[in-house]
Symmetry: C2
């Protein structure tokens, strides 16, 4: 911790100080200036399409040389269509309601002071992400819209693309009234830069990592700055005794298969013992057609013997693949206990026609999203009407679930007085 | 970190697991059960007054033997009046609005699902505090009221008192429908227990330390669990060009002198250059009478030469004593820049008659409480109408400023569907 500061340390500290200074200036920037900056960025991206594609070509070439997988190369690619999508994304964020400065709960108190809460930017946000270069634009504009300065650290495989995008952002901000230093890209691929950023607790208010579990665990371990993080998504659907049969099958199927490699995908299906004989064969057939491998508890396998046997480990596994664990439970209590024990507090759903069961499930399942009669794959910022999301948080403090603009802000108390003093 | 687990580690882990289990049970406990538990605790404290005073006598005796300061001994003392105050405190918390289960922002979305946010307990809260034994009761009932389980670790000098209070709490909870394990006192004075508690991130959701800066810094450094912390309170009053003279003097005086050793006390007074010649002599006289020593910048001392000279260090010092730093600034920008640079983002006030200055100060000062024309000493849960406070947070994430019941809760998304599935 007290090792002598390296050049990278000094560079990152300098950049973080500049971001902090920009964050203070942003507090004075009117909404019109932030909007002008966003529209400027959209314009600059559009104007510089050729330069973006050319820079990206260098990344693609290096990726091919390094033998990157085709899916990773596809995620890296910027073509005319990708630039158009980035521009559209920026303009959409510009149209979202401005969260900054909203005052709520303003009321007079017996002393005569009037107290409320004002929504304000967090300050400086560090975002550490992997390959997709479009995150550079998305993260920058979400931070600007919510009045924050940001420090962006993308993957080294996208460095040329990210630098070109950062140039467009700087060009777009210029003259808007927002300080250019409000968006800082870490332009080096030196891995030590991440460690250095995670120690800038004096200047950086929060770190948001986007990427694989390894990255997120490393960041959480090393950071002296609070981290808004997304770990596992071990999501459940519980088919209650009173569930409508067709709805139960459709929700279970959609929750698993709408996409496999997403954090809100179903990983363990729970079913009330009374419904297992009727529904498990139907579900097994449906999942079988889709190529989903089932791993069942003993009671499930008594109904559908073709299922593989689930082990204790399966209940705690996020497959992100066409594999599904299946368990028969005795009742609602058993389902809730299973979810609170093995789940990752991400997203869990009940299928039921029973009013009291729906209320108990909503109250007693301790997860970021709790659903009645809907697919777990709705757990998403756009589907929740947040307009855009910077990620999904599995934290309990601050932002929980999909994180939109509001998650990039905090509240402060504002007090309006007329000369009141405290009497003791 | 991977040292072999000690007995203390095992004991604390066991206790934390029990608290987690209780937290899950609390999610199912209706408001009436939690209210019954609170009234039960009030009754048990009242019935056991003699036992409490007797247990406390042992702590007082040991404190005297150990040569504790009289103010510390006074803070430790439980007499009939102190018990009555505890009982009153418990009953007041019982009458506060229940934060658990409030649903907000419920609305239908284009997919047909209805999405809202439900306020829910954080889960398990660890509270680490120093001498005052009344914190044991206050913390326990605030946690119970907000549906949380808690693990309490008081100071070793109050161990007998805390054990007696914990017995009353257990007696009061019994039969209410709230699990007894919802309130756990760490009954050992072994210092290793704190370290062990700070590593229970699997079972404990948040740590709230209450005590001196040394304690809080140690906890922040060691904890693998998020900490709601209160560090410095370097609070400012800025007397603007347009300030009403009498109001400026009264607010500055009250902000400093209402109490000295509180975190919301004024530490640095800023004054617009145009008002210094008129107001600094009045302020110096007023503070002089109260025995407050002033330390001024050069421009302040040009007006009031009797002031000591302030150094750079004074701007960053929380005196908690009858000492006040004074600085002349050129304008509102200078005041805001000083506060954002040297302050601790706790509580800052402007005295002004200028509408635009008031708006700029509220928006641009980046502190948990920002005030216009009121004493900084109003920054307090009771004065803000929160009903009771468990502490004041200088965090930016989650709870900021005075932390009441709401700060002990979080929100989760709730989704009401009728069988909707996600279309891609």
């Amino acid at each position: 911790m007290n090792a002598p500061a390296t050049t990278v340390d000094n560079d990152i500290a300098h950049l973080a100080r500049q971001a902090r200074e920009a964050a203070h200036q942003l507090l004075a920037a009117p909404p019109a200036a932030r909007s002008k900056a966003l529209r400027g960025i959209a314009g600059a991206l559009r104007r510089n399409e050729a330069a973006l594609v050319a820079a990206n070509a260098k990344d693609l070439e290096r990726a091919a040389e390094n033998g990157l997988d085709q899916p990773l190369i596809d995620r890296l690619r910027i073509d005319a269509r990708a630039v158009a999508r980035m521009v559209e994304g920026v303009l959409q964020v510009d149209t979202l309601p401005d969260p900054v400065g909203q005052v709520s709960d303003l009321r007079f108190l017996p002393s005569g002071i009037q107290v409320g809460r004002m929504r304000v930017p967090l300050g400086v946000i560090g975002i550490i992400y992997e390959s997709r270069p479009n995150v550079t634009v998305d993260a920058a504009v979400l931070c600007l819209k919510s009045g924050n300065a940001c420090i962006l650290r993308g993957g080294s495989e996208a460095i040329e693309s990210n630098r070109a995008i950062a140039d467009c952002i700087a060009e777009g901000i210029r003259g808007s009234g927002v300080p250019e230093a409000a968006v800082q890209l870490i332009g080096t691929t030196d891995r030590a830069a991440v460690g250095a950023l995670l120690r800038q607790d004096k200047y950086v208010d929060v770190i948001i990592p986007r990427g694989g579990k390894g990255l997120i665990e490393r960041i959480t371990r090393e950071s002296t700055i609070p981290v808004i993080k997304h770990l596992d998504g071990i999501c459940h659907v519980y088919i209650d005794a009173s569930a409508e049969a067709d709805m139960a099958v459709e929700i279970a199927f959609n929750s698993k298969t709408s996409k496999y490699a997403v954090c809100n995908a179903l990983e363990t299906l729970l079913i009330h013992a009374s419904r297992a004989p009727e529904l498990l064969p139907v579900l097994a057939a449906r999942f079988g057609e889709a190529g989903v491998a089932l791993r069942g508890c003993e009671r499930s396998r008594a109904v559908v013997p073709s299922m593989a046997a689930a082990t204790e480990e399966d209940w705690a596994t996020e497959y992100l693949a066409p594999v599904l664990a299946v368990r028969v439970v005795d009742d609602l209590d058993g389902a809730i206990a299973h979810i609170n024990r093995y789940g990752s507090q991400h997203t869990d759903a009940i299928v039921t026609s029973d009013y009291l069961a729906s209320r108990r499930f909503l109250a007693e399942v301790d997860s970021a999203s709790v659903m009645v009669n809907a697919s777990t794959q709705f757990a998403d910022g756009f589907e929740y009407g947040l307009g855009a999301e910077i990620g999904i948080s599995t934290n309990k403090l601050h932002a929980r679930g999909p994180v939109g603009l509001e998650g990039l802000t905090t509240q402060k108390f504002v007090v309006y007085g007329q000369g009141e003093i405290r009497q003791r």
